[in-house]
Each structure stands twice: as structure tokens, then as C-alpha cells.
């Protein structure tokens, strides 16, 4: 990656950086938050080519992570692995994944002369801005984790997103490496169409097949010919072992044998995140022993299967922001023996203002096992209705506690949690930030 930046660019870059850094200082000094978006927004006004000028200074290349679910956790794992090898890394660790968030992450490691001194930049990128940032970032590796339905109010449809990705990725240099999820038909197809080198990751563990295809499924139709796909088995949502009986399209072979790898955290979705990060790390030349060691000692990113201890009680926060993710976090709860769960549904911009997706979640599985369910958030009654309609019985047998005030809801849920059990909290994105703030007494964004 070249370090040659024209003098005039350098000057503007330096100015943009120093203004941004002052903003960061002020925001943090006044305890307004972690300054993960605003500095980037301001610096970009001064130097519109900021993203390009900064990313071309990253010594060993930019690694871009895209997908509906798992970006933050995968980025954190890859970051941990590379840090173990002594590399310096720029990373949008707070999960701010729109352009200004990427910029702020790079600015954090940039000095006042506009020099960015890191070995790698690991950037998780919102699926919809991927086409816009690929050209300025010129990533060395692109990880495509999955494409599920998420926040349709902002973005429209899964098909459209994958078409846009394919179009832009095809124009990148031949040496770009793309790592797509082989088990996701849309992404398997994307990988098979690209001129670049493609390394797939995926599962090969039929013992983890689901008994039935869940309802919250987007693409069980062949992305090539539109015929329904035949599944030998489904791991989660539409991820699985598929072939098209009509045109012969089928799952690509993953580079790593999944059964030979342990996973981070809980939930099968984290096995995918593990394999994605491991495939990328191997491609970057990291030895397997280091990768396995990082996997075995991994600590969760905030709110993603994060375990806390509050007043002597264990609390596990499982970010639940869309149907597929929530089906999986419910799977974590139902596979435990813990009987108290708090669900929090907000409808702010980062959550998506459309909360109809809760009806695509198989909440029946959570309700059928009984226990205490506490609900809260901006759309507490919508959530309560969803749970009530998960019951077959005319008289509700559910111990459902509807508490609009989040602080009170957390307190109530903790009261209902016995000493030796874990309280599971399933919040949407903005709700997760609030829950964490209440539990830890500190803002993270």
C-alpha cells in the first residue's frame, strides 16, 4: 500500500484530522459519549477523500467485514488474533459501521500530520454502504458473513443488496480475496461468480441440523434460476447444505473443515463467526496454534453473548435485532435451564423503526418452556402481544410482566432470577446500549 500522498492533500488531511481530534477530545471531556461517529463526520466535511487517503496508508491492508449478523463479534475475534501476533490495528470496535464510524476508527490511530500508523484496519461495514466504500477502501480481504432480512425500513431487499455487492466487488483488483459464507445460497452464488480468489467458510456438521426450516427465512429459492432449493439440512435460517434440482447450483466447499474447530461463545451462529475469522487469519499467514488459542480465550464484544455479574447474579446480554438473530438467541436460552428472560424492543433508527419482524421470530419456543418473561422498551406492548399470541390456551399460563420503564424491568427481572441461575436479556441494538448503561453505569456510544 502506497504512502505517497500529494502535499496539498496532506495539508488538508492534517487539518481535517486535527479538527476531528479536537472534537473527540471535547466529546470525551464533556462525557458526551465515546465519540465514535461525530469526528469522522466533521473531518469528512473538510476532506471528502478522507477514507481513501487514510486507508491507503494501512500497511498490510484493510479487512472489510459485511453481513447482517455477526460483524462485531467476527471483527473482534480477528482483531484479537492479529494483536496476538503483535500487529497494530485500527478497528471500529464500538460497532459504528456507517461511513463516519469507519472514518472515526481510522482517525483514532492517525497522528496530527495525517499519518496513519497501523498494520491492519479491520472495518465492519453496514451491508448497505458496502458498495459505496469498497472503491475508496480497496480492501485486501472481504468477509461476507450472511444476508438476512434486517431493517427493511432502511434498505429494501436482500436480493437487491447481493446484486449491488456482486457488481462492485467484480470491479476490484484481481488480488482481492473474498471470503463468503458457503452455506448462504445468495453468498455462495456471489462467490461463484467473482473473478477474484474466493475462500469459502461454512459448516460440515449434520448433527447440528435443525428439525424444521424456521419461518424467518429469506432465500430458499435458487439465486440463479428461482427454483426452490433442496436442503439436506439447515443449520440456521436459510444457512445449510443445499442444491438446486433444476440448474445444479450447490453449496461451495469450505476451506476449513468445521468439525476440527472449536468455537467462541455460545450459539451456532458464533461457530460461523469463528470460522470466518479463522479463514481470514490463515489467509493473512497467522499460524493455527495462535488462532486456536485466541478462540479458546475469547471475550465477548459488548452485548454479544456478553456475561456480567450484577449484585452477585449472572446476566447474559444477547443482542437480538432481527428474526434470524433472535431465533438463535432464543435457542441459546431454551438450551439453558435458566427460567427468567428479559426482552427489550425499541424502534429507534439504529433498531429499525419497523418492528413487525417480531412476528417472524419463533417466540413460541420461548413461551412453551414456561418461566418468567419480562418485556420492556419503546414497543413493549407489541412485544407483549407477540408473546401472548404464542400461546394456544384461552387463559394465559404465561408469567408475563409488562414493564415500560427499562430500569424497573431490569430490577424486576433480576428479582425473579434465583441465585444460581443466569438472567438472559434479549435487547434490540439501542435497547442493548441502554441495558448496558443501566447495568454498568457507563455509556459506550
Amino acid at each position: 500500500m502506497g504512502n505517497k500522498i500529494q502535499f496539498i492533500d496532506r495539508l488538508r488531511l492534517g487539518f481535517a484530522v486535527s479538527v476531528a481530534k479536537s472534537v473527540t477530545f471535547i466529546v470525551q471531556f464533556l462525557r458526551l459519549g465515546a465519540a465514535s461517529v461525530l469526528p469522522g463526520a466533521i473531518a469528512r466535511r473538510i476532506e471528502p477523500r478522507l477514507l481513501e487517503l487514510l486507508s491507503q496508508q494501512v500497511k498490510n491492508g484493510v479487512i472489510l467485514i459485511a453481513g447482517t449478523n455477526g460483524k462485531t463479534t467476527t471483527a473482534l475475534l480477528l482483531c484479537t488474533i492479529l494483536e496476538r501476533k503483535g500487529y497494530r490495528i485500527a478497528h471500529n470496535s464500538t460497532g459504528a459501521n456507517l461511513e463516519n464510524g469507519l472514518m472515526s476508527a481510522l482517525l483514532e490511530s492517525t497522528n496530527l500530520l495525517g499519518t496513519l500508523d497501523v498494520d491492519y484496519a479491520i472495518l465492519e461495514v453496514d451491508e448497505n454502504i458496502v458498495p459505496r466504500v469498497l472503491t475508496p477502501l480497496q480492501p485486501r480481504i472481504i468477509l461476507c458473513l450472511n444476508l438476512f432480512r434486517d431493517q427493511l425500513d432502511r434498505y429494501g431487499e436482500v436480493d437487491t443488496i447481493s446484486k449491488r455487492w456482486t457488481k462492485v466487488i467484480s470491479t476490484l483488483p484481481a488480488e482481492t480475496v473474498v471470503i463468503p459464507n458457503a452455506d448462504d445460497p445468495t453468498l455462495s452464488n456471489l462467490g461463484q461468480q467473482l473473478p477474484q480468489r474466493v475462500l469459502f467458510f461454512g459448516l460440515n456438521e449434520p448433527e447440528h441440523y435443525l428439525e424444521a426450516i424456521p419461518h424467518a427465512v429469506d432465500s430458499i429459492y435458487c439465486p440463479r434460476c428461482g427454483h426452490s432449493l433442496d436442503y439436506k439440512g439447515v443449520y440456521l435460517s436459510h444457512l445449510g447444505d443445499f442444491t438446486c434440482p433444476k440448474c445444479g447450483f450447490s453449496k461451495s466447499k469450505p476451506t476449513l473443515e468445521s468439525s476440527e474447530w472449536s468455537q467462541i461463545l455460545v450459539g451456532l451462529y458464533n461457530k460461523y463467526n469463528t470460522l470466518a475469522a479463522a479463514t481470514a487469519a490463515i489467509e493473512l499467514g497467522v499460524d493455527e496454534a495462535t488462532i486456536r488459542d485466541a478462540i479458546n480465550n475469547f471475550q465477548a464484544a459488548f452485548g454479544r453473548a456478553e456475561d456480567l455479574v450484577i449484585n452477585g447474579k449472572r446476566v447474559r446480554i444477547l443482542l437480538s435485532k432481527n428474526p434470524v438473530g433472535t431465533n438463535e438467541t432464543i435457542r441459546v436460552v431454551t438450551e439453558s435451564t435458566d427460567k427468567t428472560t428479559l426482552l427489550v424492543l425499541n424502534d429507534r433508527t439504529p433498531d429499525g423503526t419497523d418492528v413487525s419482524w417480531i412476528w417472524d421470530v419463533d417466540t413460541e419456543k420461548l413461551v412453551e418452556r414456561g418461566g418468567t418473561l419480562v418485556v420492556s422498551g419503546d414497543r413493549v406492548y407489541d412485544l407483549a402481544l407477540r408473546l401472548r399470541y404464542s400461546e394456544k390456551y384461552p387463559q394465559s399460563k404465561l408469567n408475563l410482566i409488562v414493564e415500560k420503564d427499562l430500569r424497573q424491568a431490569i430490577a424486576t427481572a433480576l428479582e425473579h432470577t434465583p441465585e444460581n441461575e443466569t438472567l438472559h436479556i434479549l435487547p434490540t441494538y439501542s435497547a442493548m446500549l441502554e441495558v448496558r448503561e443501566i447495568l454498568t453505569g457507563r455509556k459506550i456510544l
Binding site: D153, E157, Y221, T353, D354, S356, D360, R386, Y389, P394
Partner: protein, 269 residues
């Protein structure tokens, strides 16, 4: 008093293709409200594997939204005898609730933002056009007053007040009505096209709407109207529905009216 002998079959249009926005919630709401009253309920997917005879056998129809590609797959399948069966059901007064993409299918045609016009069944006199990728989608909370005369009267009778529906709209396409009656007038939001103040359509006993969210959980009286209409048609007699505890729905509605600062006067449900 319960009616264990009463049976209700819900026909669900293309569940794997047309359920983009939680529209399954409408199926669940009808199913549960019938179950809670002790009826025997069956949900029958109406998809590529069903025949025209299956379509004819259902008592109430639910259709949801689809992505453009899925909508094309549906229209390729819903042809010939199946299309005729669908037409016959709606003309004969089988009740149904059709959200977002499915009213577009029941209309004359839908023009996507990209690609070819998709011909509809032409049952409802309406057309839908997507104005292009760069035009903003209609997204947000939606409140309408039901104005379709017969439905408005029935709902007012059931609830004892002016029927308002609360939902959420999320659509790229804009719909223009021909001679068909609108479902209601927009109180908050955009509705059919953001221009003429109409929302949805009502024809025979088919409710077409852009209001998902889904529609029925927060408007339970509409679910009950569908059930009652279906049972009346099936058993050729008036069936009185037992009241259910709808306290959560009432609270959900009130929270939304309050948030949107929609003032509906007193006495509304």
C-alpha cells in the same frame, strides 16, 4: 359457550415467498383467536404444491408482502385454474386480508422499480407502480379510519365506536384505485400513494391494505370480523363470538395514538 364443532381453515398465500414483513402475524392472530374460542383451526399454505380445489376449500385467506423476485415467482404459479379459483373465492365473499404485495397481485398489474411489469389477477380495480429505486419508500406508523361503508358499519357495531386501524406501512410501490372502494382514509401516514389520502381497498369481503405491522394483533376487531364473516358464509348462520381479553391490544393502540399525537375523540377502541 363454546363451539367445538366449528371448524375454520385459513388459507395462507405462498408463506415462503410472501411473508417479508411479519405478515405471518395476521395468520397467527386469526388462528389463536379461533383456537382460544375452542374452534378447530387449520392453516393451509396455498403455494406451488396446492391445487385449485385446495384454494376452494379455505374459509379465510391471508396474503402478505413479497420481494419483487418472489412476487414474479408467485404470479408464474398463480395461473389458470388456480387463478380462477382465487377469483371465484373473492367474488363469492370469502373474507381475506391482503397486505402490501398481495393487493398488488389482486390488482391489474404491478410495475417494479427495475424490470418487467407483473400482471395481476385483475380482481381489484387498482394498479400499483414503483416510482424507481431513487424515490423514497413509504415508511412509518400508519393510522386510518375505516371508510369502506359496509365494513365501517360492521366494525362500528362490533366495537361501539368509529373504527380506526393502527399499523405500519413500508412499501416502495404506489397504488391508484379505480372504481374499487378505499378501505379507509389516512389519519396519520401516507397510505396508497401519499397523494389522495386513501388507504387500501375493500371489495366483497377482501381487505387490501399497505398497513402491516402486522395489521391484526393491534386491530383485533378486524380479526374477529374476518372470523365471523367466514363462519357465517360457511355455516349459513350467525355465530356470536365470545369476547376475549384484548387489554394488551388496547394498550398498544393507546400508546401509539399518544405517541403520534393522533386525537380521535372519546369512545374509540
Amino acid at each position: 359457550m363454546s363451539f367445538p364443532e366449528l371448524q375454520l381453515t385459513i388459507g395462507w398465500l405462498y408463506p415462503t415467498l410472501m411473508s417479508t414483513y411479519g405478515d405471518r402475524g395476521n395468520v397467527i392472530t386469526i388462528e389463536r383467536r379461533a383456537q382460544w374460542r375452542g374452534y378447530d383451526v387449520k392453516v393451509l399454505p396455498l403455494d406451488q404444491n396446492t391445487t385449485a380445489a385446495d384454494i376452494k376449500a379455505v374459509d379465510v385467506i391471508v396474503g402478505g408482502g413479497a420481494q419483487d423476485r418472489q412476487q414474479e415467482i408467485v404470479m408464474r404459479d398463480l395461473q389458470g385454474a388456480k387463478a380462477d379459483a382465487m377469483r371465484e373465492k373473492i367474488e363469492n365473499g370469502t373474507p381475506g386480508v391482503f397486505t402490501c404485495g398481495s393487493p398488488q397481485l389482486l390488482g391489474h398489474y404491478y410495475e417494479p422499480g427495475l424490470g418487467q411489469r407483473i400482471e395481476g389477477l385483475g380482481i381489484l380495480d387498482l394498479v400499483s407502480v414503483h416510482p424507481g429505486e431513487n424515490i423514497k419508500r413509504c415508511i412509518g406508523n400508519l393510522v386510518i379510519e375505516v371508510t369502506a361503508s359496509r365494513l365501517a358499519r360492521d366494525l362500528a357495531e362490533m366495537t361501539g365506536s368509529t373504527p380506526y386501524l393502527v399499523g405500519f406501512e413500508n412499501h416502495g410501490g404506489r397504488t391508484k384505485l379505480g372504481k374499487v372502494e378505499a378501505l379507509g382514509r389516512v389519519v396519520y401516514g401516507l397510505g396508497n400513494n401519499g397523494e389522495d389520502g386513501t388507504e387500501g381497498a375493500f371489495y366483497q369481503n377482501a381487505i387490501a391494505t399497505y398497513s402491516h405491522g402486522p395489521l391484526l394483533p393491534k386491530n383485533p376487531f378486524v380479526a374477529d370480523w374476518l372470523i365471523q364473516t367466514a363462519l357465517r358464509l360457511k355455516y349459513q348462520q350467525e355465530i356470536i363470538l365470545q369476547p376475549l381479553d384484548d387489554n394488551l391490544a388496547v394498550q398498544a393502540r393507546e400508546a401509539m395514538f399518544k405517541r403520534l399525537k393522533v386525537s380521535l375523540g372519546t369512545g374509540h377502541l
